[in-house]
């Protein structure tokens, strides 16, 4: 019982903080948003440390995975971010000479991520948990590679249809999607350091079930959400049948207009 309480306090509550923090970002007032950000950082740090604070919980394996994949994912995302904002775009944030550095960071991050599967070098982040392959690593890598291959290949085709000034983009998307797919195929043919090829093959097909379930579940929720709003909106009277605004509504409108008019006030 005491252990359950510790797990709730040190793993589930911080995870709840992260979700609450995401919810608070939708509030209009900046103090709530700021509070949400602080709460999110605290939640993230406590959850990240939960594999040390409550190692007995089976869910702590996910926290260990998060800490171990953070360097490679960070390198990939930050690298692409730098490469994007160092490019020839109007909202340039970094000097052009940083573009190759950004791309190199992406490649290094991806190589590090893959190296974690293929070798068990002690200097690399570990994919093990309690002496065996981390069960969440067996979910994360197949899902990530499969999702990336699928999205990149489909986007490579779609950007060709809709895009302007992106003649290189389609090619790069196809090539990256192809590399990702080849890595998937290699993983189902050759054993990794902590996972056999058959285990990986089963995991990647289960990941396909996960992705399909995830997309269907979120899709159904969005459909229900849209239908709920549509049902409510269609019952509202049309604009031409609305009564004229009362004094209170006019005052509110005047205040909104006053708050949004720029320039100096008259003395």
């Amino acid at each position: 019982m005491e252990n359950d309480f510790e797990v709730a306090l040190l793993l589930w509550a911080p995870l709840g903080f992260v979700f609450l923090s995401l919810g608070l970002q939708f509030r209009k007032d900046s103090s709530s948003k700021k509070f949400g950000k602080v709460l999110g950082v605290i939640g993230f740090l406590l959850f990240g440390a939960s594999f040390l604070t409550v190692p007995s919980s089976p869910s702590a394996a996910s926290s260990s995975l998060l800490v171990n994949i953070l360097p490679s994912l960070g390198l990939m995302v930050i690298g692409l971010y730098i490469a994007l904002f160092a490019g020839e775009i109007p909202v340039k944030r970094f000097p052009s000479k940083l573009r190759p550095v950004g791309l190199l960071m992406f490649v290094t991050g991806f190589a590090l991520f893959e190296a974690m599967h293929w070798t068990d070098h002690p200097l690399l982040p570990s994919t093990m948990w309690e002496g065996e392959s981390n069960r969440f690593w067996m979910i994360f890598r197949p899902t990530f590679l499969l999702a990336m291959s699928s999205f990149l290949l489909a986007s490579g085709y779609l950007v060709n249809l809709i895009g302007q000034r992106i003649s290189q983009t389609s090619k790069v998307l196809y090539i990256t999607g192809g590399v990702s797919s080849v890595l998937l195929i290699l993983s189902v043919m050759f054993n990794g350091s902590s996972m056999t090829s058959d285990e990986f093959h089963n995991s990647v097909l289960l990941a396909a079930s996960d992705i399909l379930g995830f997309i269907s579940g979120v899709g159904l929720t969005i459909l229900v959400f849209g239908l709920t709003i549509w049902q409510y909106e269609r019952k509202r009277p049309g604009l031409d049948r609305l009564p004229p605004p009362d004094q209170e509504q006019l005052n509110i409108a005047a205040e909104i207009v006053r708050n949004n008019i720029g320039g100096e006030e008259d003395e």
Binding site: W12, L15, L22, G23, F26, P58, S62, M76, V77, L80, A83, L84, E88, I89, I139, F140, T143, F144, L146, A147, F151, L152, L153, A154, S155, G156, Y157, V159, L161, I162, R165, I166, Q168, T169, V172, L173, T176, S180, L184, H201, N202, L205, L206, A207, A208, S209, D210, I211, L212, G213, F214, G217, V218, L220, T221, I222, F225, T228, I229, Y232
Partner: protein, 147 residues
């Protein structure tokens, strides 16, 4: 909508999306895939993502209600939708229930589903993020008008 995006082209894009999965299915020849487990994983992923996304959207519905002079109907409907997800999850994770995987109890299964959802959604979100970033990284500078 862009005139060049026709239903046929969307089907082709969908097929390209499924191409890696189809290749992996062909390579397996049915030997390694545990189809019953796959169905359970699909159902668990579907129910968990539906329930968690519904709860998240209930919070958004409060914001919507505020902007519409606080009617209760929209968020009550969304709360019902979320409760439905929770109830179905509870029913199907009873001992020996359809959704039970290798976890010992209903509580363990539900908590595992939540963590599983977070890990899977993190993987999918990072993959989508990388796709979007790669798309924009190769944006070319607008050509100057040549006269």
């Amino acid at each position: 909508m862009n005139k060049r995006i026709t239903p046929l082209r969307l089907v082709i894009a969908g097929l390209l999306f499924l191409l890696p999965t189809l290749i992996l299915v062909l390579l397996s020849k049915g030997s390694v895939y545990d189809s019953e487990r796959g169905l359970i994983r699909f159902a668990n992923a579907f129910l968990t993502s539906y329930t968690l996304a519904s709860i998240f959207l209930v919070l958004n519905m409060f914001q919507y209600s505020k902007s519409r002079r606080q009617p209760t109907a929209p968020w009550v409907s969304m709360v019902f939708a979320a409760i439905l997800g929770v109830l179905v999850t509870f029913l199907l994770t009873a001992q020996g229930g359809f959704l039970m995987e290798e976890n010992g109890s209903r509580r363990a299964q539900i908590l595992y589903n939540i963590i599983h959802f977070i890990v899977s959604s993190l993987a999918i979100m990072v993959a989508i993020g990388i796709t979007v970033l790669i798309s924009f990284v190769n944006l070319e500078a607008k050509e100057e008008n040549k006269s």
